[in-house]
């Protein structure tokens, strides 16, 4: 989302404009969800972190020092909450949730069950393969790409806040990770 637009929406929401709040949720909730997903939390933890982030954002709305950077605020708050969850888990249980890891291989989303025509089935199959290869990437690439694929695309400032990495390193790392993913897809198709 465009930063000046975000800043204006925050200011309108502070003044009581519910439509502005709605626009903020539409524009930035995919980013928050991507950050939570990038950290591989269980579904239950992911849901709670997502809610906590939005509750706190509503609470702090009128106190944001830089309303233009609300996206970065949300991204770094989500990251911090995810890290807290992971910290709490390491003392108790193993964090890998097989349900999350197997998500792409289970054909259980309503979108998929609606697909009937062959063309759509081929497209769905391609998406499923892409997702599997994405999930099989190394942790750094998987995290970065999961955040980058939010819709609308996040700014590098937001990505930096989401993952705690320098803005300058995002471009080169992105290119490298996408190239790896492409290579995996090519290898799979050749096999």
């Amino acid at each position: 989302m465009d930063r000046t637009e975000v800043g204006a929406l925050v200011r309108s929401a502070v003044d009581g404009d519910a439509a502005a709040w709605k626009a903020l949720v539409e524009g930035l909730s995919p980013l928050v969800w991507s950050v939570v997903r990038a950290h591989r939390l269980s579904d239950a933890d992911a849901h709670e972190v997502y809610q906590t982030v939005w509750f706190r954002f509503a609470q702090h709305l009128h106190r944001l020092r830089e309303p233009d950077k609300a996206g970065s605020w949300l991204a770094s708050t989500a990251r911090n909450e995810c890290l807290k969850v992971l910290k709490g888990l390491t003392r108790l249980t193993f964090t890998d949730d097989p349900q999350v890891l197997d998500r792409a291989s289970e054909e259980r989303t309503p979108e998929q069950s609606l697909i009937d025509s062959e063309e759509e089935a081929a497209q769905a199959e391609r998406i499923r393969r892409l997702w599997q290869e994405f999930e099989a990437l190394g942790e750094r690439c998987r995290q970065l790409l999961r955040v980058l694929m939010a819709s609308p695309p996040p700014s590098y400032l937001e990505v930096s806040a989401a993952l705690g990495i320098a803005v300058g390193s995002i471009g080169p790392l992105r290119q490298r990770c996408l190239r790896r993913l492409r290579a995996r897809m090519d290898a799979r198709e050749a096999a």
């Binding site: 991507s34 709670e48 997502y50 706190r56 190394g138 750094r140 980058l148």
Partner: protein, 162 residues
């Protein structure tokens, strides 16, 4: 999250990006995420409803201590209670969250009204003694905050995940 993977340890294989369109692949990933891992509809709805939590009349009590972050884990005590401290101006609230519920203390000690919030519409009053001590036998699940009225001040603690 310091996971590494063999294929990331390899040296960069040249920088020949001719013919490789990263933007296109990223866009395909974006489409895949929209189908396979979208924001769940109920969560989007909860975020919309969170607007009701924007409250200009209450001060925010900021989290100044969280045992999950600021304390070393106690050896041999895997289920140590979560200790939290919030501050707003001269008011301090200490909370201990356990599997059995929640114990708290408002400082400076004195009468107060305390509610446990669980979202935009869920508020549960708890009993506070004259010295500002309170107990709840319902452990908070998911995001929670406390709303306090003490010494003429209305304060809400920062939202937190129990």
């Amino acid at each position: 999250m310091s996971g590494t993977h063999d294929d990331e340890a390899l040296p960069e294989e040249g920088c020949d990006d001719a013919g490789f369109d990263g933007d296109l692949l990223e866009e395909e990933l974006r489409q895949a995420a929209a189908v396979l891992d979208p924001v769940p509809a109920e969560l989007r709805q909860l975020a919309l409803g969170a607007y009701a939590l924007h409250d200009l009349d209450a001060d925010i009590a900021e989290l100044t201590f969280d045992s999950l972050v600021d304390a070393l884990p106690v050896r041999g005590v895997p289920d140590a209670p979560r200790m939290l401290t919030f501050r707003a101006g001269g008011l301090t609230v200490d909370i201990e969250v356990t599997g059995e519920g929640l114990i708290g203390q408002v400082l400076p000690p004195g009468p107060a009204r305390v509610e446990v919030l669980g979202g935009p519409r869920a508020a549960r009053p708890v009993t506070v003694d004259t010295l500002g001590r309170f107990t709840s036998d319902t452990p908070p699940t998911g995001p929670f905050a406390l709303r306090l009225r003490a010494g003429g001040q209305v304060v809400v603690t920062e939202w937190l995940r129990a």
